[in-house]
Every structure is written in structure tokens, then in C-alpha cells.
């Protein structure tokens, strides 16, 4: 249960780090928060020849609040984001989402961008990123900057469209205002991996659905997103019948992976429960205009 031997680099500039990646290809791995990478090393699921630690590179730990998007740099830790009231006001769903990621001691080291790059199917942030039309900013020494839309980024379990020589310097989240949003998940114990998770975003017009996004995690090999258009519910009143319809349609289509904690059909059932709860919570927040308020709801 000890990490295998590796070389260790701590470059002091981004250019230096990118060069190390391009020279070492698949043998190099980026070390940001390390909360997924180091367990993988200890379990010998990964055996990189070189770890490139980003900690000494200045200016990779900022949260920038732009006019219609926010940019979160690759060394921003989850606990740092949790404490950024300005960020939480702009992307209120993070208030629900961030406390669900691991435990406090994990969030004190783990980074948001690292969670996206790790692409664990059970992770919460990829589902949020997908729903918020996130753009991943990937840099490489040969190819300059590539902007990758979240829908093109997550390819499968622990698999992204990132190339071996690329480093994600930041993620941009679009903050189109939503009237009501929430993140809910079911896990066996607080902080454990989700057995099913849902990010729900809702904007109403006179009680009817104007815009809707339902983004699931832990219910397939990657996050799964539906919009009001996909689901053909734009303009419908969000009543019991529509809620039930949405719970059935989405949970039926999901393809969760059975594991020791539950069968695929059990996880579909959880997804349906989350849709019912999530839509009701998003609806009540939309009505109250209360998404910016702290909420203890889980």
C-alpha cells in the first residue's frame, strides 16, 4: 500500500510543466490535489514514471468572475471554492454540491479541475460541469490552447478527451441564471461515493417549464444530461404527472453499473427518486427565488 517509485518534478512555470508533459508522454502524470492520484498509486492502479507537481507554479489558484462565466483555475481546492461566497453566489448549485465531495480532509487538498480530469463516473462535479456548458481550457507546448466543451470531454470511466501532452489550466462555467437549482445524491454514508446523484436546473414561466436540465452522476459510465428540449417538456406545467413522467423517462434510459452497493435496477430506482425530489426542490427554490440562499437540503 505504498506508492511505486517515480521521479518528481516541481516546475516553477507553466511552460516548463508543459514541456515535461510533452517529453514524457503517457509516463507523466500531473499532481494537483492528489486525492485521487495518490490512492491510485498506493493501490498500484497507476505507475507513472514522473509526477509533475503544479504547486510551485504561481497564478494557478485563482477564481475569476467574468461577465457571463466564471473561471476556476486548476489548483483551486474544493474547500477554497466552498469558502468563496462570490463564487457560490454566481454558481449557487456549488453550495449543494461541494460539501458532498468526499470528506473535509479530502476537500482541503482536492481540486475541482482535478475531479473533472479524473472523470470518476460517481463524481459530482462532472455532472455539474456538463449541465453548465463548462469549457475545459487545455494547454500544451505544441498545440497552444484548446477549449474543450464538457460534452466532448467526458468519454467514459476515468477517460477524457485530453491528450497526453495537455494540461487543464482552468474550467469555465457559464452562469446563465437559473431560477432554481439543486444537487442531490444518495450515498451510504456522508462523504462516500454517490450511488446516484442529480444536478437539477429549472427556470419557470408562470408555473410552466421554460428551461430544464437534469444531469446525473454515478448512473452510467459518464455523466448524463437531458434538457427540456430532449425531454419535450418545454411549456408544460411542472405538476405531479410531469414529475412522474420525467422520473420514469430518465431513469429508464440510464444505464447504471451494478456494484457491491446495488444492482443496476436499484440505482435506476434511486435516480427516479432523485428526479422527484430534485424537481420539487428546484421548483420551490425557483418560486422562492432562493437559490442564492444557503440550504441544508441534501
Amino acid at each position: 500500500m505504498k506508492p511505486p517509485a517515480f521521479s518528481y518534478a516541481r516546475p516553477t512555470s507553466l511552460e516548463e510543466a508543459l514541456l515535461m508533459l510533452s517529453e514524457n508522454g503517457p509516463d507523466a502524470r500531473i499532481l494537483a490535489g492528489g486525492q485521487s492520484l495518490i490512492p491510485m498509486l498506493s493501490l498500484r492502479l497507476a505507475r507513472p514514471a514522473l509526477l509533475v507537481d503544479l504547486a510551485r507554479i504561481p497564478a494557478l489558484d485563482g477564481i475569476e468572475l467574468g461577465n457571463d462565466s466564471v473561471s476556476i483555475s486548476c489548483m483551486v481546492r474544493e474547500s477554497q471554492a466552498e469558502r468563496s461566497e462570490a463564487l457560490l453566489r454566481r454558481i449557487p448549485i456549488l453550495r449543494d454540491t461541494l460539501p458532498l465531495i468526499g470528506h473535509e480532509a479530502i476537500r482541503n487538498r482536492g481540486t475541482l479541475v482535478g475531479s473533472l480530469c479524473h472523470a470518476d463516473p460517481a463524481a459530482e462535479l462532472p455532472a455539474v460541469a456538463l449541465a453548465l456548458d463548462a469549457v475545459v481550457i487545455a494547454r500544451s507546448s505544441a498545440g497552444g490552447t484548446r477549449r474543450i466543451a464538457a460534452r466532448d470531454f467526458f468519454l467514459g470511466p476515468y477517460t477524457t478527451s485530453l491528450r497526453e501532452d495537455e494540461l487543464v489550466t482552468a474550467v469555465e462555467l457559464a452562469d446563465r441564471p437559473w431560477q432554481g437549482a439543486c444537487f442531490l445524491e444518495v450515498s451510504r454514508r456522508r462523504g462516500d461515493f454517490a450511488m446516484a446523484g442529480l444536478a437539477a436546473f429549472l427556470t419557470l414561466e408562470g408555473g410552466a417549464i421554460r428551461r430544464l436540465r437534469l444531469s446525473f452522476c454515478a448512473t452510467g459510465d459518464r455523466p448524463t444530461l437531458w434538457t427540456e428540449e430532449d425531454l419535450q417538456v418545454g411549456g408544460l406545467d411542472l405538476d405531479d404527472g410531469v414529475v412522474e413522467h420525467l422520473a420514469r423517462v430518465t431513469s429508464t434510459a440510464l444505464e447504471p453499473i451494478a456494484d457491491v452497493h446495488g444492482s443496476a435496477s436499484y440505482k435506476k430506482q434511486l435516480a427516479a427518486v432523485l428526479v422527484r425530489r430534485g424537481l420539487r426542490l428546484a421548483q420551490s427554490r425557483a418560486r422562492a427565488g432562493a437559490t442564492a440562499e444557503p440550504s441544508g437540503a441534501r
Binding site: 506508492p3 521521479s7 518528481y8 486525492q35 507537481d53 479530502i106 462523504g191
Partner: protein, 170 residues
């Protein structure tokens, strides 16, 4: 204490590490693969930090780094260079127990003692950041710390008693 820092270290190279541990400047050296937990235990002889699962699940190895609890098995020793670390040894430097330790002792919060260092670090941080936690907040705080003896009830009781004692003293 200036020393030469390189940008790249080989797998067998011992990297010099300078850090503060429990308020005292310490220095040592470790291969890149060595975790902070092993560095504290083997290099600095601070064996109060316990290693249970060694992959970030059990919480026994929790220490404070720059004031925040982290898993010392999920941090490399080289990453702790220049940081301030507090271990269980730092909670009672002069050999007397602090209020949290005393309350937990009285409430029989520990049996085998394996989870104790992680529990104490995590809970002392909780009481620093939230001096009047309710029981749910105590349970949330230690949700990442496994105890196989107590069923947690006596640990929660001890933390609540410490919180009460600390707020009564104010």
C-alpha cells in the same frame, strides 16, 4: 534555512524537506514516493500518527497542514516542504491533556486507540472553527474517520462534552 531546490528529482533521490512540525522547525529527507505519514513516523519518529488503510478511506492518519485537516497518507512528504504540520503529539505538548482530550477520556471515547489521533485532529479542528457544534455537525465532521470499536456514540458524547466545557469556560 535556504537550500538548493531542484526542478526534478529521480525516484531514488532523497529530497530535502524543511517544515514546521508542532511549532518546531524540522528537516529531513525522503524519496519522492514517500507519503507525509511515513515521513512523520519513520523519519521524524512521530509515531502518534496512525496508518490504517493507506488510501485515504479510514482517516486515522489525519494531521493538520497549514491549519486544515488533511490525510497524511494522501500527501507526499515532498509536498509538505515549507508547510506547518500539527500532529497528535502537538495537541498536548507539555504532557497534559487539552479539554477535548480530557472530555473524550472521561466519556470513554476510545477503546483500542487506533482511530484516536485522527479523531482528535479532526474534532479539534471542528471545535476551532465551530465552538458550539450540534450532534449532526459532530457526526458530519468525523464521517471520514472510521472507528471499529465504539460505534461512535462515546466519541460523539466526548466531543459534545468538550464543546460544552469550552463554551461554559468562555
Amino acid at each position: 534555512m535556504p537550500h538548493e531546490e531542484k526542478a526534478l528529482y529521480g525516484p531514488d533521490e532523497r529530497v530535502e524537506i524543511q517544515l514546521s512540525v508542532n511549532g518546531t522547525p524540522r528537516r529531513g529527507a525522503a524519496q519522492p514516493r514517500r507519503t507525509l505519514a511515513d515521513f512523520l513516523r519513520d523519519e521524524l519518529q512521530l509515531t502518534g500518527t496512525h496508518l490504517g488503510c493507506e488510501h485515504g478511506v479510514c482517516g486515522a492518519c489525519t494531521v493538520m497542514v497549514d491549519g486544515d485537516p488533511v490525510r497524511s497518507c494522501l500527501m507526499l512528504a515532498v509536498q509538505a516542504h515549507g508547510r506547518e504540520v500539527v500532529t497528535i503529539e502537538g495537541l498536548a505538548g507539555d504532557g497534559t491533556m487539552g479539554p477535548l482530550q480530557e472530555a473524550m477520556w472521561e466519556e470513554h471515547s476510545f477503546q483500542c486507540g487506533f482511530c484516536t489521533p485522527g479523531m482528535l485532529i479532526q474534532l479539534s479542528h471542528l471545535l476551532q472553527s465551530n465552538p458550539t457544534p450540534n450532534e449532526t455537525e459532530v457526526r458530519d465532521s468525523i464521517s471520514g474517520n472510521l472507528c471499529r470499536c465504539t460505534g461512535y456514540e462515546s466519541i460523539v458524547r466526548g466531543a459534545m462534552a468538550a464543546a460544552k466545557r469550552l463554551s461554559d469556560a468562555d
